[in-house]
Amino acid sequence: MQRSSPASRVSRRRFLRTVPLMVGGPAVLLGVACRQQAPTGEVKPPAAGAPAPTSGAGAAPAATTAPAAKSPAVAPPAAAAPPTAAPPQLVATTTTSGAAAGSAAATGMMRPTDGTPKRGGTLRIAGGTTTSPHFDLHQGATVHPLTHAYNNLVRKDLTDGLRTLIPDLAARWETSADNLSHTFHLRDGVKFHDGTPFTADDVVASFNRILSPPAGVASVLRSQLDMVERVEAVDPRTARFVLKHPSLIFMEVLSQPAMVVYSKKAIDENGGDLRKAVAPGTGAFMFKDYKAGEKWTYVRNPEYWDKELPYVDTLEMIDTPQLSDRGTAVLTGQADMTWNGSVDTWKEGQQRKDQITVAQIPNFGAHTAHLNNERGPLGDKRVRRAIHLAVSRQNIFKAYENQEPIFLGRWMSYASPGSPTLDEIGKLPGYRADKSADIAEAKKLMAEAGHPNGFGPIELLSATAPWAAEIMAPVFADELQRTLGIQTKIRLIERGLLIEEYKKGSFDILVETQFACPIADYTIAWNDYLKTGGSKNWSRYSSKEFDALLENLNNESDPAKQKALFQQGMDHLDQEVPFIITGFTAHSPMWRNNVKGLVLDKRVYVEWGRAETAWLDRA
C-alpha cells in the first residue's frame, strides 16, 4: 500500500512551479560556461618575421592589446592587419665562418635576453608526446620529446626567435669557395651522457647511417641530404661534408631538429638501429624516464658543454593529445607551457594577461586538397585551375576558425624566405576574398574543358578525424558544388590508413594535411610533392617544365636567383594547380608568465623541441 499524507501531496500548479527551477539550474550553469568560453578576442595572422601577437606581462605594448573584435573571431588574413615585415631570410649565409661574428650567439652560446636567468625548478610542457613508434630520430621518431637529449652540428638560436643559424656541436665551420665542401671544427670537451667523448667519428657514423643505412634501418632523412656526396673525419676534431652540388639548403637541413648527432659507440652497439632505447646524446638534458601516454622526464646534464645551460633542473613533457587539455593544463598551472593550445583555451589565456602569455607562430604544414591528376576531369589542368580560382579560402578559414588558425600560402608557408607577404598573396586570383571575377573565369575554364554545368559525383576521400570529416571535407565539397557544380561523394577512412590510398592513388580528391616541409626553404617539399615521381607526389603531377625548374632550384647557390626561381615556380603552379592548398597552419603556444628564455612570442616559425635556455622566474 502506498502511503502518502495530504500535506506532502503536491498540486499540479506547485509541481509546475518547481520544474523551471530544476531545468533552469543546469541551463544557467551551461549558459555561464558557454558565455565564458565564447570567443572574446581577435586572432590575427602571426606576422612572419615580426613579433607575433602576444599578451601577458612583459609583451610589447603594441602586441599586448588585441583590438576589440566583432566577428569573425579569427579574422581572415585579407581583412586583418597584414604583416608589416617581409619574411626573414631564414637561411643564414653558410659561406661565412660561424666564429667570425664573434658574439656569444655566433659561438653557439645561447643566452636569454628577457631577464637575469634563475636556476632550478621543473619545466612542465603539455603536448602530444606518445605518438612516436620508437626512439630513433633518424628513423622517424617524433622529434620534440627526444631532441632535448641531443645536439646538432648547427642549430637556430632559441633566444632570437630562430632567426640566426648558430654553431651547436660544431664550434665553427668553413665553406669552400665552390660551396662544395663544408668543414666543421668540433667543440672540445663534449661528452655523451654515458661518458664517451664526442669526436668527428660520431659525426661520420651518424650521417653515414642516414646516407647509407644498414639493412633494416629506415633512413627517413636521407632524401633531405641528397646533396651530400660523402662525410669524412679530417681529424678527431674536424668533420667534412662534401656535396655533389652547391646547396642553399644544406646548412638549414643540418639545423632541423631531427638531424642530431648520435654516438658511434651507441650506433655500433645496437647494430645501427636505435629504435629500442633512448640512445645517449650530448644534449643539455639527460633522459630519465618515459611512461607511455603520460610523460617524459629529463634531468639537467651537469656535464653539458655550455656550462651556463640548462637553467631548469628537470624537464617534464606531459602527454596531452588533445589541444584543449594542453590549454587547460597551462591555464590551471598543471603545465608551464604548451607548444600548441586549442583556439578556445588560447583565447582564454589571452584574457588572463596577468598569468598567461600567448602567441601565434607560422607553421610549415598546410591543409590540402590533393587532386588526382591521373583520373577523370581532374586530369585537365583547366578544371584544376577552375577549382583553384573558385574555392574560397576565406570561407574555409571561417569554417575552421574554432579548430585551428589557418592562413593563406602560395605553394609555401608565408614564413618561408621565398614567399610573398600575406598582403600580396591576398590580392592574387584564387587567393583573394572577392571571388566574383575568379568564379566567372573558373566557369569559363570549365566550359572550355567541356563541363559547363560541372560533373560528378567524384570521390572525395577524407580521414575520419573530426577536423577533416566534419569541417574540411564538407566545406570543400560545398565550395565545389556551389561554385562549379562539381558533385562529390565523401568517403571517410581512418587517418592512419590514408597513406595506402595516397600510394595507390585510389581517390579523386584527398583532403588532408599533406604538404609539409621540415625547413623554411620549400625546395625539399617541392621536390617531394611536385616533382614527377616525387616520393610524396600524391597528386601524380608531372610537368617537364616544372621538373627542369626544380633541377635549377636544387643546384642554385645564389639566394637572389633562388628567389626568382621560386617566383617562377609559384606562377607556374598557380596555372597548372597540381593540388589545392587550402591554408597554412599556425600554432598557438601558451605559457605561464614565469617561463622565460624561449621568447616564443618572437619566433619566426614553429619548432617544437629544445628548451635549454628556458628558465623559471620564481618569486
Binding site: 500500500m1 503536491v10 560556461a33 568560453q37 606518445t130 581512418e494
Partner: protein
Amino acid sequence: MRTYLLQRFLAGMVTLFGVTILIFVAMRVLPGDPLAMMTSESGGTYVLTEDELQAARSALGLNRPYYEQYGRWMLDIARGDLGRSFWREEPISDLIVRRGPITAQIAVAAVLLSWLIGVPIGILSAVRRNTIVDYISRVLVIFFVAVPAFWLALLVVLGGVLIFNWRPSLTVVQFWDDPATNIQMTLGPAIVLGLGIAALTARMTRSATLEILHDDFVRTARAKGLRERLVIRRHVLRNAMLPVVTVSGLALGGLLGGSVAVERAFGVPGLGTALVMAFGQRDWMVIQNLVLLYGVVFTFVNLTIDVVYAALDPRVAFR
C-alpha cells in the same frame, strides 16, 4: 552451490577462449596493421620503401602465419607474460599495473557513489510515491539518465577551469604516492559516472521497491506491528536489491574496462584511454591483452554477481 559455481566458472573460461579468438581475428581482418600506422604516424612526412616495410614487418613478427601468432600469444598468456607493445616495446603488464589502479579506483568509487545516492533516492521515491519528493527525484533521475556522462564531464572540467582555475592531474598519481592529488584526479570522473549509474540504480530501486511493497509478506510484516522503517530495511530492501545488484555489477564491469569518453574528457590516463590509443595505433598486442583483461574482469564480476544473488536469494543456488 559448489557445482553451480564450477559450472559458471567453466562457462566463463569458454567465453574467454571465444574472446581471444574474436579479438585476434578482428585485429587481422580490420584494415591496417601496426606497421601501417607507424609509417603513417608522420602524416606522410616520411615514406618507406617496400623493402624497408617488409624488414620492419618481419622484425615485429607480423609476417608469421596467423596460427603461429595466436599460438605464441596463448603460450605467453599461459606463462603469465602479457608481451610488449609493438610501439616502443614497453611491457603491457607495466601499463596495466600503472593505469589499472586508477581505472579501478574510478569504477569502484562510481559504483559506491551510485549506491549511496541511488538506493536511498529510489526507496524514498517509492515510499513517498506521487509526492513532491517523488517528482523531484524522478525528474533528477531522468535528467541524469538522459545526460551523457562525457557532456557532464566536459561541463565539470570547464567549470573547474573557468570558475575555480582547477583541473585534474594529467599524469598518473597513485593513491599511495600522493593521496590528495590522486583523489582530485579520480573524484571528478567517479562523480560524473556515479551520477549516471545512480540514476539507473534509483530507477531500478524505485520500481523494485514499489513492486515488493505490494507483496503479501510485506503486508504480513506490517500486520505483525513492525515499524515501517524495519519493514523497509529487513523485508523490502533485501528483495529489491536483486535487480540493483545486476545493474551495478554490469556497470562495474563496464567501468573497470575504463570509461573512454569520461577519461578523455578529464584527461585521466586510465585503461580506457590506453585502449583507444592502442586501437588508433593498431597495437595488436596491447589491444588483445587489454580486451582479454576486460573479458576476465567481466567474467569475474558476473561470477561475483551470481554469488551475491545466491547470498541474497538462496533459491538461486538450487536452480
